[in-house]
């Protein structure tokens, strides 16, 4: 039976499950961010090798989930404004500043937007930090954050495996396995795992291709 509400009308207050899994975690020297690589339009994978790790500044990245158009334009606004402010002030922008700018855009335009962002990076004042900015435009600083449709499958995994001040190796494993698991379970996520390690020395990007992804319980 065709249900007007369920099948047709777009209800903004429900969490819309779009295809993505993104994660960010702080570790002893900075942050590690990771994402899958699928952009879907319904059941068609528009891009199976997407790069969802978007630079805002040299050492500040954002992970985008929700409408690709909305998140792209906002991250370019924040990139622009953090540039202008850092020139005016003569110092590197902090992750806190960039995250709060995201919040300002997301909250003031909440009626029009469908965007959830995780802003993560390293700055000399706080070290590594992760800020979660969900749909409504709130901002929460967290030791780790997950986002996108695949993130629902990771709450248990993260709660059980996260530790404060992990080493780089441990943190890398944490995010890689997390994204792998989400790709396995979530139809909206797939492809490869893209990672970036952000610490005081800069950004190092890594990729784990499909065939190298670890297979967890599978028949």
């Amino acid at each position: 039976m065709f249900d007007l509400e369920k099948d047709f009308l777009y209800d903004l207050s429900k969490e819309v499950k779009t295809g993505t899994t993104v994660m960010a975690v702080t570790f002893e020297n900075g942050v590690i961010i990771a994402a899958d690589s699928r952009t879907s339009s319904g059941s068609y994978a528009v891009n199976r090798v997407t790069d969802k790790l978007t630079p805002v500044q040299d050492q500040i990245y954002c992970l985008r989930s929700g409408s690709a158009a909305d998140t792209q334009i906002i991250s370019s606004y924040v990139s622009y404004y953090t540039n202008m402010f850092s020139i005016e002030e003569g110092s590197q922008p902090t992750v806190k500043k960039a995250a709060h700018m995201f919040r300002e855009f997301l909250y003031q335009n909440k009626q029009y937007l469908h965007a959830a962002i995780i802003c993560a990076g390293w700055d000399p004042i706080e070290g590594g930090s992760v800020y979660s900015l969900p749909l409504g435009g709130s901002i929460v600083k967290q030791p780790f954050a997950t986002g996108g449709s695949g993130s629902t499958y990771l709450y248990g995994y993260c709660d059980m495996n996260f530790k404060e001040n992990m080493t780089e190796e441990e943190a890398e494993k944490f995010v890689t396995y997390g994204i792998t698991e989400a790709i396995a379970r979530d139809g909206g996520s797939g492809g490869i795992v893209r990672k970036a390690i952000i610490d005081k020395n800069g950004v190092r990007r890594k990729t784990v291709y499909g065939n190298k992804l670890k297979k967890f319980w599978e028949k």
Binding site: E89, K97, M101
Partner: protein, 249 residues
């Protein structure tokens, strides 16, 4: 009555043949007519002191403020047309609030100074609005960066100072300030020294009526917040100055 810039001084949109904008220079004159204000950058903060001429015994003490807070951490002292000063302070408060809303950080003083400077400059460009007839001293104290003091003049030039004076007695005041060892002075000492300069050097008792001291500071003791110097300290400073006078006589 023909003056210096006759013919080239009607609007800020006219340069004189020797490259001056007379309207802006006349704005400086407005500042020079006002009573003196001093700002000092000490070891642990910034102190402002203003010589306020008491025009009438009917005026309530502390009225006619010439020093203002912008945010909690920045103080602005004015000389010249107070109304113009208040207008710029209003703009400064707007800037500070917008910056804080957007970035969640308090506005750094050099950013605020830059923005106010740009704002003041706009008023020197057109013939339908006049330049501001006031100078401002902007001060702040940060645990890491230390004290900062900037001065913006009507021509929008903003310079950083260790010690600065604006208004009628600025020349004498600047001479006295240059004799002080500011990097070793605490804010409490600065209160006394400023009181001394304003009462003894700058204020002319024969020509002018009584004066009132308005002083404020941003220092380690106030935890980086701009506050009026407690009345008791000002009274003690005035006593100290009187004591010095007697010693010298």
């Amino acid at each position: 009555m023909s003056g210096i810039g006759t013919g080239y001084d009607l609007y800020p949109t006219t340069f004189s043949p020797d490259g001056r904008i007379f309207q802006v220079e006349y704005a400086h004159k407005a500042v020079e007519n006002s009573s003196t204000a001093i700002g000092l950058c000490c070891k642990d903060g910034v102190v402002f002191g203003i010589e306020k001429i008491i025009l009438s015994k009917m005026l309530v003490e502390g009225t006619n403020r010439r020093v203002f807070s912008v945010g909690e951490h920045i103080g602005i002292a004015t000389a010249g047309l107070t109304a113009d000063g208040r207008r710029i302070v209003q703009n400064a408060r707007q800037e500070a609030k917008n910056y804080e809303n957007f970035t969640s950080d308090i506005i750094p003083i050099h950013v605020l100074t830059e923005r106010l400077s740009i704002y003041v400059q706009v008023f020197t460009l057109y013939n339908y609005i006049r330049p501001f007839g006031c100078s401002l001293m902007i001060g702040s104290y940060d645990e890491e960066k230390g004290p900062s003091l900037y001065c913006i003049e009507p021509d929008s030039v903003a310079l950083g100072f260790y010690g600065c004076a604006i208004g009628k007695g600025k020349q004498e005041a600047k001479t006295e300030i240059s004799k002080l060892k500011l990097s070793e002075m605490t804010c409490k000492d600065a209160v006394k020294e400023i009181a001394k300069i304003l009462i003894k050097t700058v204020h002319d008792e024969t020509k002018e009526k009584e004066m009132e001291l308005e002083m404020s500071w941003i220092c380690k003791e106030t935890k980086g917040k701009h506050k009026l110097v407690p009345k008791k300290l000002i009274e003690e400073a005035v006593e100290w100055v009187k004591g010095q006078e007697n010693e010298e006589d």
